[in-house]
Structure formats: structure tokens, C-alpha cells
Amino acid sequence: MLRIEHLTKSFGTKKAVDDLSLEIKPGEICGFIGHNGAGKTTTIKSVCGILQFEEGEIYVNGHSVKADPIACKRDLAYIPDNPDLYEFLSGIKYLNFIADVFGIGEKEREERIHRYADMFELTGDLAQPISAYSHGMKQKLALISALIHDPKLIILDEPFVGLDPTASFKLKKLMRELCDKGAAIFFSTHVLEVAEKLCDKVAVIKNGRLIAFGTMEEIKGDTSLESAFFGLEEQNG
């Protein structure tokens, strides 16, 4: 579902991502971990077609991000680490806007919006302007807008930040259900316990280079993901 081949992205002379390759298949949840400034968000933004990159290739569901970005964006959903949304719109108008862009039928969009809004307990606030939302409510709205078009690949940058425990639990459950139905999820997190419980695969990035990538068992072995992560960091000092 997602194939990154030798991705290199520089800002000036600094290589933010250096020759990164990985592949995520349908049904897999892949955690993306690394310290601050390691290159996680740059990789994620490159996958979503938000940042242009110099070298390498990214394929989403077989479509090249460079050659056919619109086909890629149709198949994926992206939630950034900080959900800055159109504050001049109400929640429902924002969701309707997203549904318009993805060409979702009227009945379908109503059903999906209300299903996910009920799930994340946001239905009662949908008429409110987004400017009146808390950080967590914005995060929930961003999640609903990402799920509205039934994406095949979901890219999440720190998705649990700002969510209350209930919403966080529901999101984890939903992520698993979506993958069981054939979607793939690639998400960055600093919460290693969550990654350990949720992920089928893990990618570890340091200073722009992928230092480990494999199944959860391959990466952590008999130890915890936390121990494995610190071990990898040390080895690649």
C-alpha cells in the first residue's frame, strides 16, 4: 500500500531524510519512531505530497507521488501533528467541504459523518465554529475528516496528542478494525507502549536515516520496544 524507495529530502545543505526505504502492506499498522527532529514529519509530509523531495520515489497504492499526486491523495488520509483547521467554518461545514473534495455522495457522507462523530462524541458540537473547539475537539474533527472517504492508507502524525482517554482507546480500536478491512496505517508516535501494543511493523529513524525497519518481533525481540529503541539509538550513536 505504501512503498518508499530511497527517499532523500534536504533543507538547504541539511539532509532531513537520507535514503529512506520502507514498505507497508494492506492490513498492516506501522509505527514510526525517532527523537525530535529525526525526520519523521518530513517523511510523512513527503508521502502526503505536501513536501517536494529531490531523490527517491514514493508509491501509494501503486501510484507515484511525484507523477500522479492526485491519485495518491485520493487513496490516503493525513492528520498532522497540530490540527490547524479552517476556524471560520463550523465542524459540519468543514466535514462537508472535505466530503465535497472527495466526491462522497450525500447519503454516504451523512452516514459516515454521524457514525464517526457519534463515536468520538462530537455530534453535539458540529454546528459550533471550529474557532470555539479545544485542541482535542479539533483533533477529533481532523480524524473524522480523514476517515470520511474510506481511505486505503492513513498517515497520522502523533495522533494521540490531545485526545481524551476514551477517544484514544476508540481510535486504537478503530485503527485495528480499519486495517483488518484492508487499509494500511503509518503513524508517528513518541509513546512507545502504544506502538508496541498496536503496531505490526516498526520503523526507527535517526538523523534522517532509517536505522531499523521490520516486524515488531524482529525489532524488539525478547525485550520491550523501549529497550530496543534505546539500544538502536546507542548502536547508531
Partner: protein
């Protein structure tokens, strides 16, 4: 007070950063752009000061000769106060009552009063710039035309230092009242817009009719001057202090200048924590499930752009002022055609062109003031990632900005053209000139605005007043609009007036505007899209 300096500089930097293009040492292209922008900025400043100098020269001569020297400086004081309040009201409201970083600053070990004082100080810098632009040339002209005593010169200097203070006090008071009223209203934008518009039009009306008032005042003599002294006595004392070197008058002006500023600063300082942290609690809007209407992706973006435009009164007032004027003045022209004769001060036969032609020219002039798209990229700010991550081509995103600009400004222009056509009954060429050229210019300004904003974007603003009102692209788009009007005008006056009628020339200019729009659309598809994609997100 050690924390005053950093907070003050942050406000100033944020203001300057929005006004000037981002400068990177290694980027030669940006350096050239910055230099070009500074030259354009200087050109605008010189033009404004030149225009003022001409106006003040006439006033200084007539009022000096009539023995109303004090009135000259009273008028200057009024112009400064008006410009500071009208020009800075939006920013004062945004900086003091709606700043995004209020909570961040209050979380730091800084006294709330210091946060407020540093904000006021940064706003005062802007007011001092306004004051110098108006009072500087006015003072030089007065000294050149008439004379001034040594004491008068000292009072003049001190008055220039004092003048922004009452203006700031007044701005704070109005912004405070507005904030208290509007924060309790759910749909306050329309009322806010109406209020600002009324305020702006009243100021514009007073300033444009100033010469008439002064003439009347001079001709009716002491009686009106006495009434003026009684009603706006602080301004009378300002004038008397400078022209007569009167110490008592200066003291009265000093007290009048300081009082509103000090009172408002003390009140707001004691209230600032409450102002910055109280959620005045607009009643929650209950969600009721309704049918959701679907539209295409392109239309969704156009609707989104229009919603953004209509959600910000400052955006409407700065970007869409031309459209508002088009409707207002067309109605005025239709109802009171005699005004146009009055304006030219001549009889019907001696007007430079026939009335429908003048109407077409006026609509073109207002179309050149349409600046909605010139802020449309910058206004995306932190939300740029949304458009960039959605399955829509970059060209479509940019076209939506042009389309919403064209709708927001083109519809009022069209209404204005219809009113003029019905009321004035132009011939065929006049009709074409009335409908095609102003609307074509709105569209050209739409394309030009997006193209300019892509080259001079600022996405890291603190409040939306900055990109909409102070952005570099706004100034450049204004100049582009002026060039689009002046260039064909000059061509006609110096070259083409012998071979074609002015109505036909206006129509022909409209065809040229359409051509420019096509070229800009082609450039937007290629270069514009590339620039937008390079903005990151």
C-alpha cells in the same frame, strides 16, 4: 519592566515581518525582490507625501493670509487623529483583545500590565509613522509659507510627539467597546463590517470635503471659528500653541492629549487579565441534523474561499472596498446625477466626458481597488496543509482563489454597471465600456493578486489583520491596480485621443485586460502552481 523589551520587540518584529518579504542572506532572488519592494514602498510614500504637500500648501496660504493659522494646525491634528484611529483600529482590536499569543505570554513570568504596555507601545510606533507622514510635510509647508516663532517651533515638535497619544486612547476605547459588544454576539461580522464601514466613510467624507469646509469657514469668519474653538477646543489650543507660542494653550492641549491615553491605559491594565482570559461565552449553537448538500471539489474550494472572505470584516473592508464603492456610488450617480456636475464644478456641456463614460471610468477605478486575492495565499497561514493534502490540482486551488475574488468583487461591480446602464442609458460602446472593462479588470486583479501573493507570501502571521492589511503583496497589488488604470489613461491622453473615442478606448482596454488575464492564468498554471507547492505546509 525587564520583560517589556522582549515582548515589545516581538510585536514590532511580527508587524515588520508581515510588511516586508522574508529575507534570506543566501537567496539573491529574494534580495532583488526585497530591494524592488523597498523602492515601491518609497515610491508610494513619496507620492502620498507629495499629494499632502499640495493640499497643505493651499491651506497654509489661504489660512495664513486670513489670520486663521491655528485652524491650519487644528486641521492637521484632526487628520492625524483620524488617520491613526481609522488606520489602526483593526490592529488595536486584534492586538489588544484578540491576539493569538495572549495565553502564551500570560503563562510566562510577565505581569499582565507589561504585556499590555508592550502591545500599546508597538501600536504607538505605527501611530507615530502615521503622524510623521501627515504632520511632517504639513509642518514643513507651514514654515516655508508662513513663519513660526522659536517657542512655536518647540510646541510644534512636542505636539508631534503628543498627537498619537489621544489617537491611541480613542482607538483603545473604541476597540474595548467593540470587543465587549461583539464578543457576545453570535453573528457579529455584519454589524462589525457596517460599523467599520460607517466609520471609514465618515472619515473619508470629512477629509474629501475638508477644503470646502475650510473655504466656508474662512468666508464666514469669526463666528464659525468661535464655534470651532468651543466644540473641538483641544485642537484649537494645539493650533494656538504652535502659531501664537501660547504656553497656556499648549498646557491645555497637553492635558487633553495625555488624559484619554492615561485613563484608557490604566483601565485596560487593570482589566487585561480578564480581557485576555475571559471567554465571554457566545451561546452554544445546537447541532440539528440537516441534509448535507454536495458540490464538486472546485466549487467546494470557491465556497470555502468566499466563507473565509465574509468571515473577516477587515478582509472585506480592505480587499473588497472597491465593490462596496461601486454599488454605493452607482446608486448615488443614478439618484443624484447633479453630483457629478458639482464634482467637476462645471455645466453639462463642459464635462470632460459624457456621464456614462465617467461612470465606466469610476467603476474601473473601484475595480482596481479589489485586493481580495492579494491576501488569499497568506491568509491560509497554518491551514495550508489542508489544501496541499487534498486530491485537487494546485491550479484548481489557485483558480478557486481567483474565482472567489471575481465573485466577491465582480458581483458588486456588475450591480453597479446595471444600475448605471438603467439610469444613464449609454449607447452600445458605452454599454460595453460599462460592463466589460470594469469586470475584466476585477478578474485581472484576481489573477494578478494571486500571482503577487505567491511571490510575497507570509504564512506566519499572528493575527489576520497583518496579511490582509499590511502584507507586502497588498501594497504591490495596489500599485499594479494603479498601473492598470494609469497606463491606458496615459496612452489615450498622449497618443490615441486623436484616433478614437474615449468610450471605445475604455472598451478596448477591457479587451486588453482579458488578454492579460489569459496570460496570467497560463503563468499561474505553471509557475504559480510551482511556487504554491514550494510553500511547504
Amino acid at each position: 519592566m525587564a520583560s517589556f523589551k522582549p515582548v515589545f520587540w516581538i510585536s514590532i518584529r511580527s508587524m515588520i515581518a508581515t510588511m516586508f518579504p522574508r529575507y534570506r542572506k543566501s537567496d539573491a532572488k529574494t534580495k532583488r525582490r526585497l530591494l524592488l519592494y523597498i523602492l515601491l514602498f518609497a515610491y508610494v510614500l513619496i507620492s502620498v507625501v507629495g499629494g499632502e504637500a499640495a493640499m497643505f500648501y493651499g491651506l497654509a496660504k489661504s489660512l495664513g493670509a486670513a489670520g486663521y493659522g491655528w485652524l491650519y494646525f487644528a486641521v492637521v491634528g484632526f487628520a492625524v487623529l483620524g488617520l491613526c484611529v481609522v488606520g489602526g483600529l483593526f490592529l488595536t482590536h486584534a492586538q489588544l483583545f484578540a491576539a493569538k499569543d495572549n495565553e502564551l505570554l500570560l503563562s510566562l513570568p510577565i505581569k499582565p500590565g507589561v504585556v499590555l504596555l508592550s502591545r500599546i507601545a508597538s501600536l504607538l510606533v505605527l501611530d507615530y509613522i502615521f503622524t510623521l507622514i501627515v504632520a511632517g510635510p504639513a509642518a514643513v509647508i507651514w514654515i516655508a509659507v508662513n513663519s513660526i516663532s522659536g517657542v512655536g517651533a518647540v510646541f510644534l515638535l512636542l505636539s508631534v510627539i503628543l498627537l498619537p497619544l489621544p489617537a491611541m486612547g480613542l482607538s483603545m476605547l473604541i476597540a474595548w467597546i467593540l470587543s465587549a459588544i461583539f464578543s457576545r454576539l453570535r453573528r457579529s461580522n455584519l454589524i462589525k463590517l457596517g460599523f467599520y464601514l460607517l466609520f471609514f466613510v465618515a472619515y473619508l467624507y470629512l477629509v474629501t470635503n475638508l477644503n470646502g469646509y475650510i473655504t466656508a469657514l474662512v468666508s464666514r469668519g469669526a463666528e464659525i471659528a468661535e464655534a470651532f474653538r468651543r466644540t473641538v477646543f483641544p485642537l484649537y489650543h494645539l493650533g494656538a500653541a504652535i502659531t501664537q507660542g501660547d504656553g497656556v494653550s499648549f498646557f491645555i492641549f497637553l492635558v487633553c492629549a495625555l488624559a484619554p491615553f492615561v485613563i484608557m491605559t490604566v483601565i485596560l491594565s487593570s482589566q487585561f487579565l480578564k480581557i485576555a482570559t475571559t471567554n465571554r461565552g457566545v451561546r452554544k449553537i445546537e447541532y440539528r441534523q440537516k441534509r448535507l448538500r454536495a458540490s464538486g471539489a472546485r466549487m467546494a474550494f470557491v465556497k470555502k474561499e468566499l466563507r473565509l472572505f465574509f468571515s473577516l470584516p477587515v478582509y472585506i473592508l480592505n480587499g473588497g472596498l472597491g465593490g462596496v464603492f461601486s454599488v454605493v456610488l452607482s446608486v448615488l450617480l443614478a439618484v443624484r446625477r447633479d453630483l457629478i456636475y458639482e464634482m467637476f464644478g462645471q455645466t453639462q456641456g463642459a464635462l470632460p466626458f459624457d456621464v456614462p463614460t465617467i461612470a465606466a471610468l469610476m467603476l474601473c477605478l473601484f475595480s482596481a481597488l479589489s485586493l481580495v486575492s492579494a491576501a488569499s495565499v497568506s491568509i491560509e497561514g497554518n491551514t495550508l496543509w489542508i489544501a496541499r493534502s487534498l486530491p485537487v490540482s494546485t491550479y484548481d486551488i489557485l483558480l478557486a482563489k481567483v474565482a472567489s475574488h471575481s465573485l466577491a468583487c465582480g458581483v458588486p461591480t456588475l450591480i453597479g454597471a446595471i444600475i448605471c446602464a438603467v439610469a444613464l442609458g449609454p449607447d452600445l460602446i458605452g454599454l460595453l465600456a460599462l460592463f466589460i472593462t470594469p469586470i475584466a479588470l476585477v478578474v485581472t486583479m484576481g489573477f494578478a493578486g494571486v500571482a503577487i501573493n505567491l511571490r510575497f507570501p507570509r504564512l506566519d502571521w499572528v493575527n489576520p489583520v497583518q496579511p490582509v492589511k499590511q502584507g507586502a503583496s497588498i501594497l504591490i497589488a495596489m500599485l499594479a491596480g494603479a498601473a492598470l488604470i494609469i497606463a491606458p489613461g496615459m496612452l489615450y491622453v498622449f497618443l490615441l485621443n486623436r484616433i478614437m473615442d474615449v468610450g471605445f478606448m475604455i472598451f478596448l482596454t477591457g479587451v486588453v485586460y482579458i488578454g492579460i488575464s489569459i496570460l496570467l492564468a497560463m503563468s499561474l498554471k505553471d509557475k504559480g502552481a510551482r511556487l504554491f507547492e514550494e510553500l511547504g505546509g
